[in-house]
Symmetry: C2
Subunit: 405 residues, 2 copies
């Protein structure tokens, strides 16, 4: 029978307290393996009641752009990690000077914060990337297009974009004004990139510890809608084993050479080499934290990306990243346009229809286009698994009527 806890206070065990900056769903999902592993977390949340603040007892509300706040939250913590990549580099350096290990550290993280820095570094490493150039004027954009296959060209602010924000596809130099205006307003630059004619998008996730141990998850196929991750299939169906190996090696090499600690996600374009006709991968983006393209691992891998992020940043030996199932599919639940009420109201149908469905909700208000949860499904038959996951996500989004099957 259950032991009745003692009537006297029980002090925390001597596991180190891990500071986490940012109260979004990634921090929320870190809390689950932290409970299992007995790891105390201390959270800096942006506002009361945000996703992770609902589930981490030791949390403070404050601004991650304020160094004094960061110092107060990380006081007494040996290690700090992040829900997002927006903490200013100078603050990270100050924390490291205080003796708090930032994982990932500022020298690595800048490559996930600044796309121009990332492109320069990866190109210097000989890692295949789309053709790119930092541009300062519409004339630069026209020149960049002329040097390649012409328009359309992709423009990105070098810093601050996410989920499709800060990205423009322009058909002429004249259309570039919005990107330059946004960059000017934010005090950042504009990066021009060729618009890659990809066959599909892939993602290669690795965990890496300060000691240099690394674990590579299987390469997955991702589908974006409006610049937002929509669906992930693990592993990527029909992927050439050579290309899968190459993608994993890119991720492992980037993690090692940039000194990444924790999870690194490398988003890739799969495309066809125009000269040889062979398949190849180009790096699209880097993220240095648990990533939407790794959520499948919560139910489909031996060790989830969230547990391995914790283990990596604490320099504990990493868990096995291999899949437990032939196929695992993740589909995001985005807030719908319609007033859908509580996501909770979706449970009776979703659970009754599919007793094997795995649901992850983030405790966030539903707003159109906002990521409010995801579902995972796994099994041997990819079509069946896709159908189950897609149906459930559409149901929670409110896209299906009561009569839908």
């Amino acid at each position: 029978m259950s032991e009745v806890p003692p009537a006297t206070p029980s002090p925390q065990p001597t596991a180190p307290t891990l500071a986490v900056i940012g109260g979004g769903q990634l921090a929320r999902m870190l809390a689950q393996p932290a409970i299992a592993l007995g790891l105390p977390l201390r959270l800096l949340a942006e506002a009361p009641g945000v996703s992770a603040a609902q589930v981490v007892v030791d949390h403070t509300v404050g601004d991650y752009r304020d160094l004094a706040t960061l110092r107060a939250v990380t006081h007494g913590c040996a290690v700090v990690t992040f829900d997002h990549e927006h903490v200013p580099t100078e603050h990270l350096r100050a924390l490291e000077a205080d003796g708090v290990a930032c994982r990932p550290g500022p020298d690595a993280l800048v490559h996930a914060q600044d796309k121009a820095v990332m492109r320069a570094r990866l190109s210097a490493m000989g890692i295949p990337c789309p053709r790119h150039a930092v541009v300062a004027t519409p004339d630069d954009v026209a020149r960049f297009a002329a040097e390649g296959d012409g328009f359309p060209v992709v423009l990105k602010t070098t810093r601050g974009g996410y989920d499709g924000k800060g990205v423009w596809v322009v058909g002429s130099a004249g259309e570039a004004s919005e990107a330059f205006a946004a960059a000017d307003a934010a005090g950042v630059e504009v990066l021009a990139e060729e618009k890659v004619a990809f066959t599909r998008e892939l993602s290669a996730l690795v965990a890496r510890s300060p000691s240099g141990q690394a674990a590579a998850y299987p390469v997955v196929q991702t589908t974006q809608l409006d610049g937002i991750c929509h669906e992930v299939i693990a592993p990527a169906p029909d992927l050439d084993p050579q290309l899968a190996h190459e993608a994993q090696q890119i991720a492992l090499r980037v993690a090692a050479e940039l000194g990444v600690t924790g999870i690194l996600a490398v988003e890739l374009f799969e495309t066809v080499d125009p000269t040889t006709g062979a398949g190849r991968v180009l790096v699209n983006e880097l993220a240095m934290r648990p990533h939407n393209t790794g959520h499948w691992s919560q139910d489909g891998a031996v060790t989830s990306q969230f547990e391995n992020h914790l283990r990596a940043v604490l320099d504990l030996p990493l868990g096995d990243p291999r899949p437990r199932e032939r196929w695992t599919v993740m589909v995001n639940i985005l807030g719908g346009e319609a007033e859908v009420g509580s996501l909770y109201a979706g449970y009776p149908h979703a659970f009754a229809r599919d007793p094997r469905l795995r649901v992850h909700l983030y405790g966030k208000d539903v707003r159109p286009g906002r990521k409010v949860g995801h579902v995972n499904a796994y099994g041997d038959d990819l079509d069946e698994v896709l159908d189950r996951a897609r149906h459930a996500a559409a149901w929670f989004r409110g896209d299906l009527g009561e009569d839908s099957e």
Copy 2:
């Protein structure tokens, strides 16, 4: 990329808040699927910093024997559930009169609180139990022994025992005085039971919802040490399918006829019928909450007992209880006799030796014999899985030297 949470407060979603009474490891482990499902918990903890109080934001410290405290904690909650079975029946009835649904309710829970009530009810249902009688004097014990196979006889206080406490095996009526003294001191009775010559112990877990939906986990083999659950193998190796079916049917029938909501664990003796020579099962104990013999399901079943407990008490459709793996083994981590220091110090070796190991620590101080965590291992080869789980648990307990492999 991760969405930056909004700068304005985000109210909780409209999922119902579930009250949980008791701050032990079972409540702690309920918190993990509650995070995934977006279910807010409100906890009554026995003391600051107990296992579940470390991980449930909305918690109060107070005495579960005090009705005013129970009323304050459950105020505004439609449903209350329990980490242990010690809340007084009259308080449960008062909460129900207030409109709070107790799951399980007092009429069911009394069968897990009072062994005499349980034995009477199961016997009336025709469910096979050890021979038993309520005894008031050593003479009664002598008479009970004489009516059966003589001594030894098992004596149990009818209420309040757990983990081997409140249980005595006596070789004569004269040895019964300790049991009667303990029962007198606690104001409870003594139940005498035949000492069953079991071949092994089994456990049948089911989840049942107020609507009457039920899900049966595979029957597992359990090994006790000093009255405390030590090791669980799921499913029970070489169990006669007929007997497995019978055990599941007993659990389903008990859950339905007693009106259990949430998880019901039926601990069973597997024994041999002395007249027919056929295998049979006898009910040993009932528990109405997630149970130590179901911890394997966290990593070995499609839906863990903790998630299904939440779904059951909220009357949501239940998740698939089937195993994901051929074999899953759970071994408890008990506090050792030696000063072992922090359990955290066990991670480097345990994780490096076995990257597939699943560890669950409870955030509790290590004390001799105290349950402070458990490990799960799974795979196709039972001997290998047993070895992995036993080694890891022994390592965390501090039973292995540094040279051990």
